[in-house]
Symmetry: C2
Subunit: 209 residues, 2 copies
């Protein structure tokens, strides 16, 4: 639907707007202006309108936006109207935290598989799933049809796991490994790098006024 490439910063803000719209909806508001959305998110009304304008025109001049309608539009734009089938690879601390995270399931990200390489974990039942060997990923995926693989293994194993994920035909990856993964262009990769986030904070704290 979008005519030109959408900037990453725009997508991040859309996600924020959706969060605020849900708040407003829960608070019983039926209508919201770009100014109100902007105030809630610490941005400007022009920014909000520009962001939305990439996808269409959803408001009424003089009036603002219908909360319920805009919420639904945002969900559609962000691809949240469908369920996503997720496999979590690496059932260590981070993997376990994610497997149990309710917000995950609630938003339509359904965990359909847990994988690990540790023989002590393989075969065990954890978080309502039977843990399987990473080596069975490709075979499993013939019927599991996983959309997104969450990579939560140590840095040293991450690239090998990523290769297996790609080989299994999974085209979405969310990685928590603190390094740069290499995947083919047709695979979409999003990395959350905790080390980088800490260092960003360290930099900011070290360079105040």
């Amino acid at each position: 639907m979008p005519l030109k490439r959408i900037a990453d910063s725009t997508v991040r803000r859309l996600s924020l707007y959706l969060r605020f719209l849900e708040e407003f909806e829960n608070a019983g508001l039926t209508t919201v202006s770009s100014e109100e959305l902007a105030a809630r998110g610490g941005t400007t009304s022009a920014q909000v309108r520009k962001d939305l304008s990439f996808f269409g025109s959803f408001g009424k001049r003089g009036l603002g936006y219908q909360v319920a309608e805009l919420t639904q539009r945002m969900r559609r734009i962000l691809g949240l109207e469908r369920d996503w089938r997720v496999a979590i690879i690496g059932v260590g601390k981070i993997g376990s935290a994610l497997a149990q995270y309710e917000g995950f399931q609630q938003r339509g990200f359904r965990v359909v598989g847990l994988y690990d390489s540790d023989p002590a974990k393989i075969g065990r039942n954890m978080y309502d799933q039977s843990v399987r060997s990473i080596d069975s990923l490709a075979e499993d995926n013939r019927e599991r049809r996983v959309d997104i693989a969450v990579i939560a293994v140590p840095a040293s194993a991450a690239q090998r796991v990523a290769d297996q994920v790609v080989a299994a035909g999974i085209t979405g990856i969310m990685s928590f490994a603190p390094l740069q993964l290499h995947v083919p262009a047709e695979v979409t990769l999003n990395t959350v790098n905790m080390a980088m986030e800490l260092e960003r904070l360290s930099f900011a704290l070290s360079n105040r006024e």
Copy 2:
């Protein structure tokens, strides 16, 4: 040290460069060019040189950069030459994962306190620390001198906790709560929003060619 405000994207890349430099150092390389650093990180050599130029000139023309020297410079720039005293607030799934995360400690982020509001957890010993009530944060901090509070509590409690953190005189916050926190300007806040990251991936997957 930096003369003008440094862009967030620049700091993120500095953090990446540091990671690559450590790799190169482990591999025994003594010298590296901006072109090699760029190739490793999927950017351009001009970008690398421009990023570094905000902080000084660290290379030798015709030769490149000394790996060991540049590594140390990057550490200094990012504020990683000192230890940071960290308190983890909310010892649930995410908080526990972080408390046990070795990369955390290794990079000089020392966990000096665990806090929770659950009476079943308060007083217990977890991960080599005695869990304390969030309400004792301000009092504790008179001697604990925490630099960074990691907020890993449910969204509904996050703003209240943030207020307590600020009241305790802690000026660095890393939040994992999926909402926008409001803090005074003198407090540095960095938010990792998992919901946003998932939605970013969802958007990317939904809008492929």
